[in-house]
Subunit: 347 residues, 2 copies
C-alpha cells in the first residue's frame, strides 16, 4: 500500500477509510517512559537538533501505540533557534527568549534576519526526517509541523509564556505596522520550516496556533489569519494541511483560512458534529477526545471515544486525536487502548 493510501492521507483528501486514522498531539514526549529515559541529561532544544535522538523519539509512539501517523518530534521555537534567536525551553515553564521583542526597533532588528537562515541551518532537521521516513517506509505517514505566527509572536513579545498574551495582542492595535512586520516574518520562518520537513519526507503538515482562541474574531481576521495563510501558501498543493488551535470554537470557520486547510482541529469544547456544521462539507475534522477523560475509568473513556467517533461522522472525514496535547502524566497504556478501540472497527 503506498503512503497515499494510508488512512491519514485518505482522510485528509476527504475519503472515509474503513477505520478512522488516529494520532495524538504530543504522543512523542513525556507520557512515555522510554522518552523520559532518552531525554535524561539532554536539554529540549538540543534533543530537537540531534537527528538520531529526534528520530528515535518520533518513532517511539508509533511502535508502542500503532498510531496512524508519526508527528515529528520538535518544538515550535526550533526554527527561531535555527535563525539565530536566543531561546531556551525551561522545564515546567516553556519557551523563554533572552530578548523579548516589544518595540518597533526590536521588531526591525529581529526581522532583519533572513528567513532563509532557517533552511540553511536545517540539516539536523532534514537528517532526522530522512531517518524517520526511511524507518516508517510506506506504512505510516509523518506529519511535519510549525507554530503559527500569532502563537510564536505571543511568546516572543512577552519573552515567555503568558496567560492572555496581552503584549502581543496590544502590539496589534498599538503599532499595527510592527505587528504585521513581525507576523509576516514569522510566517516566512514557519514556511521555511515546513518546506524543510516536506522536502525531507513529511507527508502532511500541521500548523499549531495554540493560542488563537485568545483572540476576538475581528482581531483573528485582521491581524492573524492572513499571516497563517501566508505561512501555508508554499505547502499548499504539495502536502495536505491540518490547522489546529485551542479554544477556537467561535472562530472555527476562519480556521479554514479561506479553504487552504484540508483539516481543521477542534479542542474538547466543540462537539465534532457542531464543528463539522460550522466548517462545512469541504474540510476534514480532527479531534477531539477530552484529555481530562484520559484519567477516567476505561468504560467512561470508551463511551466518550465512541461519542467522538459518532459525532465525527457528520464531517466529510475524521482524524481522531485529542482536543489538545497528551498530558505528561498520562498512562500510555490508555492511549494504546484507544488506538485498539478505533482500529477494532467497533465504533
Amino acid at each position: 500500500m503506498p503512503l497515499s493510501e494510508t488512512p491519514l492521507l485518505r482522510a485528509l483528501r476527504g475519503d472515509r477509510p474503513d477505520t478512522a486514522p488516529v494520532w495524538f498531539m504530543r504522543q512523542a514526549g513525556r507520557s512515555l517512559p522510554e522518552y523520559r529515559e532518552l531525554r535524561v541529561g539532554t536539554r529540549m532544544l538540543d534533543a530537537c537538533l540531534d537527528p538520531a535522538l529526534a528520530a528515535e523519539i518520533t518513532l517511539q509512539p508509533v511502535r508502542r501505540h500503532g498510531v496512524d501517523a508519526a508527528i515529528f518530534f520538535s518544538d515550535i521555537v526550533v526554527p527561531l533557534r535555527l535563525a539565530g534567536v536566543a531561546v531556551e525551553i525551561e522545564p515546567g515553564r516553556g519557551p523563554v527568549f533572552a530578548d523579548p521583542v516589544r518595540t518597533a526597533s526590536d521588531v526591525v532588528a529581529l526581522t532583519s534576519i533572513d528567513p532563509a537562515e532557517v533552511a540553511a541551518a536545517s540539516q539536523p532537521i532534514r537528517d532526522a526526517v530522512a531517518i524517520i521516513a526511511a524507518e516508517l517506509g510506506e506504512r505510516t505517514p509523518l506529519i511535519g509541523f510549525a507554530g503559527a505566527p500569532f502563537t510564536l509572536a505571543a511568546y516572543l513579545v512577552e519573552g515567555g509564556p503568558s496567560k492572555e498574551h496581552l503584549r502581543a495582542r496590544a502590539m496589534m492595535h498599538a503599532d499595527p505596522e510592527s505587528w504585521h512586520r513581525l507576523a509576516g516574518w514569522l510566517a516566512r520562518v514557519a514556511s521555511e520550516f515546513l518546506a524543510v520537513q516536506a522536502d525531507a519526507g513529511a507527508s502532511a503538515v500541521q500548523l499549531f496556533d495554540s493560542w488563537a482562541g485568545s483572540l476576538s474574531r475581528e482581531d483573528y481576521r485582521t491581524f492573524v489569519a492572513p499571516h497563517s495563510r501566508a505561512a501555508l501558501e508554499d505547502a499548499r498543493g504539495r502536502v495536505p494541511i491540518i490547522h489546529f488551535g485551542v479554544g477556537t470554537g467561535p472562530i472555527l470557520p476562519d480556521m479554514r483560512l479561506g479553504g487552504i486547510a484540508d483539516a481543521v482541529g477542534a479542542d474538547w469544547r466543540t462537539p465534532l458534529d457542531e464543528a463539522a456544521q460550522l466548517l462545512g462539507p469541504d474540510v476534514t475534522v480532527q479531534g477531539n477526545i477530552d484529555p481530562a477523560l484520559l484519567r477516567a475509568p476505561w468504560l467512561v473513556l470508551e463511551a466518550h471515544v465512541l461519542d467522538v467517533l459518532r459525532r465525527g461522522r457528520a464531517a466529510r472525514a475524521h482524524i481522531v486525536n485529542l482536543g489538545h496535547g497528551v498530558p505528561p502524566d498520562t498512562d500510555p497504556a490508555v492511549l494504546t487502548r484507544i488506538v485498539e478501540l478505533i482500529h477494532s472497527g467497533r465504533a
Copy 2:
C-alpha cells in the same frame, strides 16, 4: 440620591442611566501604588481578613478613579480559609491548597465541614463591609462576590492553579457522585459568603466562574450550571446578581443560569452586540474593554472604549468593565481616563 438610584443599580434593573456605570474587575489591587504600599509585609489572605486594611484597599480605587462601584477586596478562596481549609495565596502563582481534594474520601472529608462555619468565622468580613458601606454612604454601591463552584473546585482538585483544569474536569466524568457532592458543598460555601456580604451592606453580588470557559457546553450544563445557580439562590431577589467567566462566548446563554443573573459579563472575545443577541432582552451586559488595549496609545484605547459603548447599546443596559481583571502593571492613570471618558457622556 438613594443607592438604588445609582447608575450601577439602575443598570442592573435594566434602566439606562445618562451615562453607563463603570467599574473594573481587580480595580483594588496591584495596579495602584497606594495598594502596593499598604500590602508590604502582609500576606494576601491576612490582608483579606484585616477589616480596616480590606476596607481601605476596597476604597482606594473608588477615590482615585471615581468608579461607579466598589468591589470588595477579598479572594475567592477566603470562605474556604474561613471554613478551616488550609490554603495560601502564593505571590505570582495563586491559591495553593495543602491537601488537594482528589479522591472520593477527600471529598467526603472536605464536605463534612458545615458550610455554616463560613458565616460563623466571618466577623472580619462583616466588619470590613460595614466600614466600606459607611464610608461610601449613598453615593456608591459595593459589590460583594464569591467564586463559583467549578472555579473553586478547579483549584481544590488540582491543589493549585492549572491550565486546563484536567483533574476537576476528570472528576465530573470519572466519579460524578463525588463531583456533585463537592460542587454542591462549594455552592453552599459561596452562598454563605455572599449572604455575609449582602447582610453587612453589599448592594449587589458577582459570581466569578473564571474558568467556566474551559468546559464544553454539555459539561457546563450537566456538572456546573446547577451548582452555580444553587450558589445564587439565596441572593436572588435580595440583591442583584452579576455572573462572569472568561472565554464563555460559546456558553453565554447558559451563563444566565435560567434567568437568575441580572447581568452577564463577557470577556474581550465576544463583541457586546453579539453578546446581547445571545443573551436576549432580559439581561444587562457587563464588559468588555480588552485589557490588552490598556497598553495602547490613548487614541487607540479611546476608539476601542467608544466601540464597546456603542455595541453595549444593543443590550437592555450596559455596565462598563474590562473583559477580565486589571493587569497588575497597568498605569492607573489610564483607568481614570476611561472613567472620565465614560462619565463625560461623549460616547
